[in-house]
Amino acid sequence: MSAGADLATPALLLSAGLFAIGVVGVFLRRNVITVFMCVELMLNAVNLAFIAFSRWRGTLDGQVLVFFVLTVAAAEAAVGLAIIIAAQRNRDTLDVDSFNLLKW
């Protein structure tokens, strides 16, 4: 790979774009599972930023951080989906607006 092929900058732009799409999804969608998937998309955009900076700086710490983000994302998905199942059982719907039990 030649040093001239600098992909770090376009990778960071891609990361920003994917993160923005994820944010739009969180605000736009009503189904709680789709909202959750948009959060996963945002996590992936951050991972891409880590990888791009790791390549840019020539260090490996970004790779290790992505590893930890993946681990936490797996734990988060398991617990989050369990909460969604419990919430659906209580309210019989997946609409985010109907989950207002903790609202003041």
Binding site: A3, L7, L18, I33, T34, L48, F67, A73
Partner: protein
């Protein structure tokens, strides 16, 4: 333009396109399949950026384990297509404009600082190098802490999803 750059832009376009499908699609199952396409093309992008280990993890953990979990829950709850139109409240619009401004500033700062940086030539993070750093004293305790986190998540997920009799 090198082959790497061409492949990068192809996979980046696929990732953005399928991410737009994830957000635009009203049926969550189609969103989930589009997200799998996004994750797989991002895995290719990771590989092109010189991170083969993370590229493999992305497919195995994300596109494999996590998305199977998502689809499992989608099938379990037999979700329907969203019927009501998307929210268009005033506060949401204001937040969207604010976040859009943040994104523009972010992209601007990336483009402004791009001229200063130069990529380390021939950067390639092999699995052995990443593993050596992961098990070095700098990250070893964090690594052990994540195993406790996984255990807590496992117990928590079972406790939350269990039906009370």
């Amino acid at each position: 333009m090198t082959l790497d750059a061409i492949l990068f832009y192809v996979f980046a376009a696929v990732a953005v396109g399928s991410a737009l499908v994830v957000v635009g699609q009203r049926h969550p199952t189609y969103s989930a399949f589009a997200l799998i396409v996004t994750l797989c093309s991002l895995s290719a992008v990771f590989g092109l950026l010189g991170s083969p280990f993370i590229a493999v993890l992305q497919v195995v953990v994300y596109a494999g384990a996590i998305m199977v979990l998502f689809l499992f829950v989608l099938m379990l709850l037999s979700v329907q297509r969203e019927e009501r139109p998307a929210r268009r409240a005033w506060g949401v619009k204001a937040t969207a404009i604010g976040l859009g401004a943040v994104l523009v500033a972010q992209v601007g700062s990336v483009l402004a600082s791009a001229a200063r940086g130069t990529t380390a030539p021939g950067f390639n993070a092999s699995t052995g190098q990443v593993a050596r750093l992961l098990f070095s004293p700098a990250y070893l305790y964090v690594f052990e802490a994540t195993s406790i986190l996984i255990l807590a998540a496992l117990v928590g997920a079972v406790a939350l999803a269990k039906r009370e009799s």
